[in-house]
């Protein structure tokens, strides 16, 4: 499917999709666009004293340390007032558990590595940040990446 963006300040903004038939992929695309337009995927996080509304698609991973939940983008770290399971419920399908205390955005994973001990590591494009993946969740993340590639 081709994507075209036309910039015309004189017309009303709309998203129009031409398709041969109504497919599950089309429905997901429609849902994703609707979500993005309604800002449902924005998560309220804190950076210092300021509250920031972070787009879920920018999140690389989120992990708990002590009693706090930290959300990482490529260049920043934010504190999230939610618990990890609450955040997991609010995040889109592209997120998966990397360990009991970490959620990773599988759609932004650039490479997966696995050590002889079975512990994995995820690397992201455009960032030096890395996430360790425990043995138990490694296969789940690989499957999630494969699933997302099939859908694309």
């Amino acid at each position: 499917m081709k994507i075209r963006v036309l910039i015309d300040p004189d017309r009303d903004e709309e998203v129009l999709i031409y398709a041969h038939s109504a497919s599950p992929q089309l429905r997901r695309l429609q849902e994703a666009i609707e979500k993005a337009l309604s800002h449902q995927d924005a998560i309220a996080v804190k950076k210092g004293a300021s509250e920031v509304f972070l787009d879920c698609f920018e999140i690389l991973f989120a992990e708990t340390s002590g009693d706090r939940l930290w959300v990482h983008t490529a260049t920043d770290v934010y504190q999230c007032p939610l618990r990890l399971y609450e955040l997991e419920e609010r995040l889109p399908r592209g997120f998966a558990r990397a360990s009991k205390s970490c959620l990773v955005n599988a759609s932004l994973i650039f490479a997966l590595f696995r050590s002889p001990s079975g512990v994995g590591e995820a690397r992201f494009s455009g960032s030096e940040k890395r996430v360790f993946i425990s043995r138990r969740y490694y296969k789940g993340i690989r499957d999630k990446i494969a699933e997302m590639r099939l859908e694309a």
Binding site: K47, S65, R130
Partner: protein, 223 residues
């Protein structure tokens, strides 16, 4: 006293010279007092130096055993000074037990005061530390055998000039430093690897890293 190798060498050098001078004086018959045998002189000077050395370094918990040994060595002289010549003031077991209890007690008190964010020690496994950029001076990152990743939070409030102590034994430490900070290092690396990317960025937000690495790997990454 600065904890540099030079000042440490100077201190112990002076202690040894003082010991030699006292032994020479004693050998010439210039008595320091009755009961000051060469063994007592050597042991006494070294133990007092040990105590002073730890006091300068604010390692209070380490001074009790040298104090105990000092007391045991000089016990007959102390007994004479207090008018109880020929008596055992305290049993050696009591003295050593007291030294042990005092060491543990002071260690526990100091440990409870430096726990939490002030001292981050990890052993084996993978972990992540979040250090408050408002006060990184209060932090010591220690790692033995495992992997630890360090992030700075509240980075926008950092004023610069802090020193972060990083100690690594056979582990891997990755420090994610905000890109607008400048890092300077004082690294002591024994068969390990310390990698800090060279950059042209000049900033007031300077973070000084005091690194001690033994057979480990330390990387600094600018996010």
């Amino acid at each position: 006293m600065k904890k540099t190798g030079l000042s440490r060498s100077v201190f112990w050098g002076m202690v040894l010279i003082l010991t030699a001078a006292l032994l020479i004086l004693n050998g010439f018959g210039i008595s320091l007092g009755e009961g000051f045998t060469p063994v007592r002189i050597i042991a006494g000077v070294l133990l007092v130096a040990w105590i002073l050395y730890d006091l300068f370094r604010v390692k209070i918990e380490r001074i009790f055993f040298p104090l105990a040994f000092l007391f045991l060595i000089y016990e007959p002289l102390i007994a004479r000074w207090v008018g109880r010549e020929g008596e055992d003031l305290l049993s050696a077991w009591i003295v050593l037990l007291c030294a042990l209890l005092l060491t543990i007690g002071v260690n526990l008190i100091k440990g409870s005061r430096t726990s939490g964010k002030e001292k981050n020690s990890k052993h084996i496994g993978n972990s992540t530390l979040y250090l408050d950029a408002n006060d990184p001076d209060a932090c010591v990152v220690k790692e033995n055998l495992g992997n630890v990743t360090v992030y700075f939070v509240n980075a926008e409030n950092y004023r610069g000039g802090a020193t972060l102590h990083v100690q690594n034994n056979l582990g891997e430490i990755t420090l994610h430093v905000p890109s607008d900070w400048t890092v300077t290092t004082d690294a002591s690396d024994n068969l390990g690897q310390v990698r800090i990317p060279e950059r042209d960025v000049v900033s007031d937000k300077v973070l000084h890293l005091k690194i001690h690495d033994n057979l480990g790997r330390i990387r600094v990454l600018f996010d």
